[in-house]
Symmetry: C2
Subunit: 389 residues, 2 copies
């Protein structure tokens, strides 16, 4: 299996405002995206990948001159890979409000001439779906072969099935949930409080002060990392391993490997992620709740869907447990929708959706094989020996 190789992000500017669920609008915005593979003649082989909290449009391949810049789902997307770029035209859009190129809180608010900061409008999963649909309009793609996403990306895939039911044939939602539980919201809220109470946050207008609320971002990321890994995976990877043979008897020195790991992850994250983006994206997670418009009835919410569904969960995922996927499956079955569900025994917790567990990848490979078969014009668009299974 090969990499898609060197890739470059593209961007498109939208002059017409995007109306948002909140009643506000996003005016004059840019979307940054990447594509892999080739769009076929009748534009029927497009697959939209939706990114989660801290990821970007950069799904596969590497950027010129940056060997380590491997895309976040490179193990899945590429020539001969489960989502085979010889067959499919893969698109990923950096969602507005994010911090990887699309219009976000660090960009200039046309109303004030200063960075949006905390004034950036609060976005929802549905707003992102709308923004993605506009990009597809501009590309002339009326129907997607599939929308695929894990975690928050899975919520966007579900959102597509409800908001544009006739614009996708398959919805593949992995390690996701029909809404956040109280515990999920609680973790988000602690992370947000850590950020907004950091004195360097300056009410969200820290750009103007030339500072970054790194303390808050570090704590937010450390909390996130605990919830992404399973208890068992963390135990296996770190256990009670010490940094040294003897104890320091200190409350601030690093004694355990797990402390070192978390601090490193926190430091790294605070160097590249935007604090306002973290607030916006966790809030979009909190708000996602398709049943809300149907008096809490998830079955009623999914009545309008028409595509085929593939749900996947992982046994040790305690952030979005299999039980949450089963709620979705039940609502789909209640509607007699076509749905397939796989609960994969994997030790890695929520992070499993990003890893290349063979059963998981074989399942997605089979799913995309089937999608390719039913899509008349989806044939390999480049010759590549040994791609077919």
């Amino acid at each position: 299996m090969q990499s898609v190789g060197i890739v470059a992000p593209q961007s498109r500017h939208f002059a017409e405002p995007l109306p948002l669920r909140s009643g506000a609008q996003l005016r004059d915005y840019t979307l940054v995206y990447e594509t892999y593979g080739t769009l076929n003649a009748d534009k029927s082989n497009a697959v939209l990948v939706c990114h989660a909290l801290n990821a970007s449009h950069h799904v596969a391949g590497t950027h010129q001159g940056a060997e380590k810049s491997v895309g976040w789902w490179d193990n899945l997307v590429g020539p001969g890979k489960p989502l085979d770029t010889h067959r499919f035209y893969v698109i990923c859009v950096n969602n507005p409000g994010s911090c990887f190129g699309s219009t976000g809180p660090m960009h200039i608010n046309p109303v004030t001439g200063k960075p949006y900061g905390a004034d950036f409008p609060v976005l929802t999963v549905e707003d992102w779906v709308d923004a993605q649909a506009r990009l597809l309009d501009a590309m002339g793609i009326t129907q997607l072969a599939a929308v695929l996403g894990g975690s928050l990306g899975g919520m966007q895939a579900l959102g597509w099935s409800l908001r544009y039911p006739d614009r996708l044939r398959h919805c593949i939602a992995i390690a996701t949930a029909p809404n956040l539980s109280a515990q999920n919201i609680a973790f988000n809220e602690v992370a947000r409080r850590a950020i907004v109470t950091d004195p360097d946050f300056h009410g969200g207008h820290f750009y103007e002060h030339g500072v970054i609320p790194k303390r808050g971002l570090r704590v937010a990321r450390m909390i996130g990392h605990i919830t992404y890994l399973s208890d068992d995976a963390m135990e296996e990877k770190f256990g009670r391993c010490m940094k040294a043979d003897t104890l320091n008897y200190s409350t601030q020195a690093i004694e355990f490997e797990i402390e070192s790991y978390l601090r490193y992850q926190g430091d790294k994250f605070s160097d590249y992620f935007d604090a306002n983006t973290y607030l916006l994206i966790t809030r979009a997670l909190d708000y996602f709740d398709p049943a809300r418009d149907h008096h809490g009835d998830l079955t009623a919410a999914f009545a309008k869907a028409t595509c085929q569904f593939q749900l996947v969960s992982f046994t040790t995922d305690w952030r979005f447990s299999p039980a949450r996927s089963r709620e979705i499956v039940k609502a789909l079955l209640d509607n007699k929708h076509r749905v397939s569900y796989a609960e994969i025994e994997a030790p890695h917790g929520h992070d499993a959706f990003l890893l290349d567990d063979p059963r998981y990848h074989n399942l997605l490979r089979a799913t995309f094989d089937n999608i390719a078969k039913e899509t008349a014009d989806v044939k390999p668009v480049m010759a590549f020996k040994g791609v077919a299974r």
Copy 2:
């Protein structure tokens, strides 16, 4: 069942330094404690209760003029209650390093003449056990009928069985663990980082600056609360209940009840708890690991114990799950120690050990009934109609 009524803390000063596991020592310290019931003639009816992270010596009853100051385990300890103060003389000591009266980081360091702050020596569970033993020496109590504790208090009870095997007849360790898992340490570490990176922490010497690192304490407490409650209990209590009928579409306003609850708990905690104490106590949790001195062999660690054990865990406790209690039970059985173990199906997570679940309290009542029976001289020391079951 009655309350023990109005109680008053006592205190005792110790001039002789307490040598600590770290090699440092605590010199010139005071222990604050409370007692309930009456010590019998041969001093055989004493039960030591050990407190957990944020609790104090104030286990039962109320303080004069403060009606709401009900002790943290008042549902368990009192006349006619499972730990019956008509039969037992109950003692609880505020551990040194804490912030409820015993010598701690907010007190004057005799070496510098300033508050200890971050220079307060790092204490271990074993050091607390030693301090408690010294108080019992001073009280002339050579052997305890039982040592009882939940969570970190359970670790102290286990510590007693190993450090002073002939000074207790029963060890009752509830909702505890033989050591912290990587995930447990991870949560502690995030809480500590939130505190020490708060600019008001001033390297632990904030007393001299007239400030309190409240932001860090709030975040620490919010994280703690998430881990004390089970996912299900949080869902049942809060779910996705909103503060208002309409959404605010804000990242900082409170939308969900769970956010309101966590912020309230964080605020309340930051008003009364000491930041250095939080660091010290979480570190003592991290360090507790009786198997460490025995090449990781918990069975070898418990070889020296001689008392009878009662272990209790709660099915929904994900902080110290039943599996962790079972590790202790196995090590005790390997040694052919007398041990009884109850795994109680309770929905409340780790917090269950503080609640009055009938099965849980009936179990402890039976345990203490048996302890009373086998203790020849433990008879009701006050007449009280209807106390006997």
